[in-house]
Subunit: 147 residues, 2 copies
DNA sequence: TATAAAATGACAACATGTTGACACTATATA
DNA sequence: TATATAGTGTCAACATGTTGTCATTTTATA
């Protein structure tokens, strides 16, 4: 059995995704390491910042597409670091709600102030139409795999 | 400072790349775990299969865009597992050349026999033109970051 | 209501990746 | 040729992710 034309192109995209992911994590860490953040913590801050409000660890994990255990460990560390705090969850006795502290909010804002010029500069070499197409194709691919 | 239109779209693409990477690794592991392979080992087999011939660990690492130490550990394990073997390197006394064993070749072929129908099926929901555009944009993005 | 099923936090084991440091080898250059 | 520079294997520490298991809590259902 052989790759179809599309299958071969999709294989290229998959390998590119692996490589790009590694590069992006490295760049992200580099961008914000002076803020006491890492790419992993940044993603948690982002989930809480862009989410509907305080969320449980499991909510955050589902939003990020990661295991709740991974997010749990990060969250615990981030509470120790003063970036997150818990508040009681009326819906669940054990699953406390996570929210950003003032320090967490400031860290996220500072991170975004670094990310914005960085990403704007990278993105200016592309056409808006192309970026839209890529984003929507990746989204479609994710929802196909995320079953 | 704010995101430009392109910067905002590129940020979406970055977050999608994180999520897609995780899903792809999981799917890959699932696809081939009955062959005694993992996504990580598969990538090494792929590098050697698609490369110009026997390569050093450092060569493979550069090709995969990963640290040589990570590839070294995988390679050592894969030699133990009989998937790879070394041969002397006339160019370098310590940096031996890595090549696939018969078992390694068969494992890679079996993996591809699983990957091909899987990726063909996923890819048939997309247009060739779009896939080409996505692949080339990702490639361009990688080369921008890979400095 | 009683009980089965699902969700959650905690802990452990493991896989995969990074970086740093060290000794050794190969290569470029003064 | 002598020496600085770069590449390489090895080892260690660590970050980030997975899965499995267990006890507990919540939710769904018979």
């Amino acid at each position: 059995m052989k790759h179809t034309t599309n299958g071969s192109l999709m294989t290229d995209i998959i390998l590119e995704t692996f490589k790009l992911n590694g590069l992006l994590v490295l760049e992200g860490d580099l961008l914000i390491n002076d803020l006491g953040l890492t790419s992993a913590r940044w993603k948690v801050l982002g989930a809480l910042s862009n989410g509907p409000g305080p969320m449980t660890v499991s909510d955050i994990a589902r939003m990020m597409g990661q295991s709740r255990q991974a997010v749990q460990r990060l969250s615990n560390e981030m509470i120790q670091a003063g970036l997150l705090e818990t508040q009681p969850n009326p819906k669940h006795q054990r699953a406390k709600l996570m929210k950003l502290t003032g320090k967490g909010k400031r860290a996220y804002e500072q991170a975004m102030q670094k990310q914005i010029p960085w990403v704007n500069s990278i993105a200016e070499n592309f056409k808006e139409k192309e970026l839209k197409l890529v984003s929507s194709l990746l989204e479609k691919l994710i929802s196909q795999l995320d079953s």
